[in-house]
Symmetry: C2
Subunit: 385 residues, 2 copies
């Protein structure tokens, strides 16, 4: 096992009716900005529950945060929040709203010239306005970690940051808030969480059997509960199990002491930045090709994954590797998530564009062995056409 530090101070309030509990978590007298997206929370009763819980606070609303939240939009929120002397922000929505809110609270306290430097120049975030979250979409895990991904429209860049100061103070996970989600978002969420686990699991063995089994626990649960959610998205227990699985997939627990990959995410972000394809779908496109391309290096973990998760235990090693990747692909496809670039009308031109962007950005050394270079990225993407 590798050395590690683990720290996660997020308080989780899980279950039906928990939105009302935020009243006890936000400092009395705080001026609260509520951030949200396109307004679905006004249709499913979440907005009302939040506003009832916030009675007694001065509340400012900031809505219309997009999927893959835009720097340009978030900077408007920063300006309003500063002007209104906001001292607590409450994100209500899915991973985009939570990610966007992390950028807002960091940018509010940023002292340099442009908060975008947090992403491009890696200027460390050394403080942030406190914030909490009411999650309405199980997927990204942002509700229980300190990471954030923001897109700059003007430059078509999608970049990440994290900081010990951008953990939510609390997150409410009420499975009932997911009952009215479009199925597309439910299946996206399952694939997103599943891929988060694989990024931390399909690397190379370091004798960390507990972490392996915990990762496998999440995978098995998503495989078991995923199809149920698609067929019966208002089943409380099913959605509760998916919601908690998605959170556990990226709250740091399964990552401790093991190598992690994240090349799939890094490459896939470009497809969203360039074409606006749903995040989970870009992962489903890149991951299978990356696993095949790196089959030799990931051999031991891929074989373990195939056997323990998909029951692949027969054939030559090559056959088992391919059967394992195909089982993963079939799972994604069974959730109505396509896995080829052509399914999204993306062709070789985009591969060239991504390669060019990576060259300009000087991208190198991706993956758990830091051995994925731009040429490799090109080949992986070509395999996904």
């Amino acid at each position: 096992m590798n050395n590690f530090n683990f720290y996660n101070p997020v308080k989780i309030l899980f279950g039906k009716g928990q939105i009302s509990a935020i009243a006890d978590e936000i400092p009395a007298g705080a001026r609260v900005m509520v951030t949200y997206g396109g307004g679905s929370i006004k249709k499913n009763g979440v907005y009302e529950q939040v506003m009832t819980a916030l009675k007694g606070h001065t509340v400012i609303e900031f809505s219309n945060i997009e999927p893959n939240p835009h720097y340009e939009t978030l900077m408007q929120a920063v300006e309003i929040a500063k002007r209104q002397q906001i001292d607590f922000v409450l994100a209500v929505g899915g991973g985009s709203v939570v990610d966007g809110t992390k950028f807002i609270v960091a940018a509010m306290e940023f002292e340099g010239e442009d908060p975008w430097d947090i992403m491009t120049k890696r200027v460390p975030v050394e403080r942030a306005v406190p914030f909490g979250a009411v999650l309405t979409l199980p997927a990204t895990g942002s509700e229980m970690n300190s990471g954030s991904v923001v897109t700059r429209v003007s430059t078509k860049e999608k970049l990440a940051f994290s900081s010990p100061f951008t953990f939510p103070k609390f997150s409410v996970l009420d499975p009932e808030t997911t009952f009215t989600l479009p199925l597309r978002q439910v299946s996206n969420g399952i694939v997103d969480a599943f891929t988060h686990v694989l990024e931390q699991y399909l690397t190379y063995p370091v004798n960390a059997p507990l972490q392996d089994r915990m990762a496998e626990s999440i995978l098995l649960t998503l495989i078991e509960e995923g199809p149920k959610a698609i067929h019966n998205p208002q089943d409380y227990d099913t959605m509760a199990n998916i919601m908690w699985s998605a959170t556990m997939a990226l709250n740091g627990v399964i990552r401790v002491g093991v190598p992690t990959d994240w090349a799939t995410h890094y490459i896939a972000h470009e497809l969203t930045a360039l074409h606006g394809i749903d995040h989970a779908r870009t992962l489903a496109v890149v991951l299978p090709s990356l696993l095949r391309y790196k089959g030799k290096e990931k051999r031991e973990k891929l074989l373990q994954y195939g056997e323990r998760i998909w029951g692949v235990d027969a054939g030559t090693e090559d056959e088992r590797l391919e059967a394992t990747v195909m089982a993963t692909v079939s799972f994604f496809e069974s959730l109505d998530i396509r896995t080829k670039l052509s399914d999204y009308e993306v062709g070789e031109d985009t591969v060239k564009t991504i390669v060019k962007r990576f060259q300009e950005r000087g991208v190198k050394n991706l993956g758990e062995r830091a051995d994925i270079q731009i040429d490799d990225v090109q080949q992986i993407l070509m395999m996904s056409l």
Copy 2:
């Protein structure tokens, strides 16, 4: 799944060489009290590493904290710490030192008459002096939770408390610190951690498959790594896996949203209080009888445990239940932990004494269904004779 709140802000510094990192975790200029036990840390190099890391701080030492730490001893530490205006305490040792230190830091800020009221009158702990831990014995999980068990010698009471203010600020888990442990403590630790998992797992199903699998992950890892540790206690990876398993067993992660039992612990504490039997050994005595006595109520989870952990999948239901309990007993015995009261020269007199103490204390409603009464305790203990 049941509703739950989860909060665990302990920072974990895991791996070889991590003791030196405490220098960054303790506030500059803090007056530090280092608490420890019988002095084994002076023989294995841990004391030296800690003192090197604390250079620049005023350091007061308080040693001789016993296994099952005594209220009487801890109150001496409280007096010294107050007199010396200590503002950070560093526990160096196993669960007893960490538990004892939790009581010390709570008692230092206690404003009532006698801090023992925290245990007996359930006076809530509303603040505490900050503290950290350097763990040298994987077992209790105290390094990553807020709970503590303290023994009062004069009354032979062993009682527990917890508070959101008694989480360690950080805990160092360096597997190398365990290399010189007596085998008796290694096997005690494995059985202690294993039983912690079972207390949170062997109850009744609430449709929480992820929590079940995570609990099973710890059990399987302890079963796999436990015998290795007994045969080769200086194997770094083995001890690392046991250390992390013991921490994960009681840091709250597997408990979320599920019922928990704890009757075994509650009953077993009496055996330590009355006869000084090692904590883990008292668990190994009580648990099998409790599982048999409650076999009907715990049926579904016991069968799942038997099948997934011990491969018990044949025979009538009663046969499978008994085979499952026997597999657990065999595992404990394989680690040289005896499972009968007679193995510890304890007889029926002690059962009577415990029953009388429970009657005086008005004990009732133990277990996940709150259906274990004093009569049941008596029968469980009689089955363990």
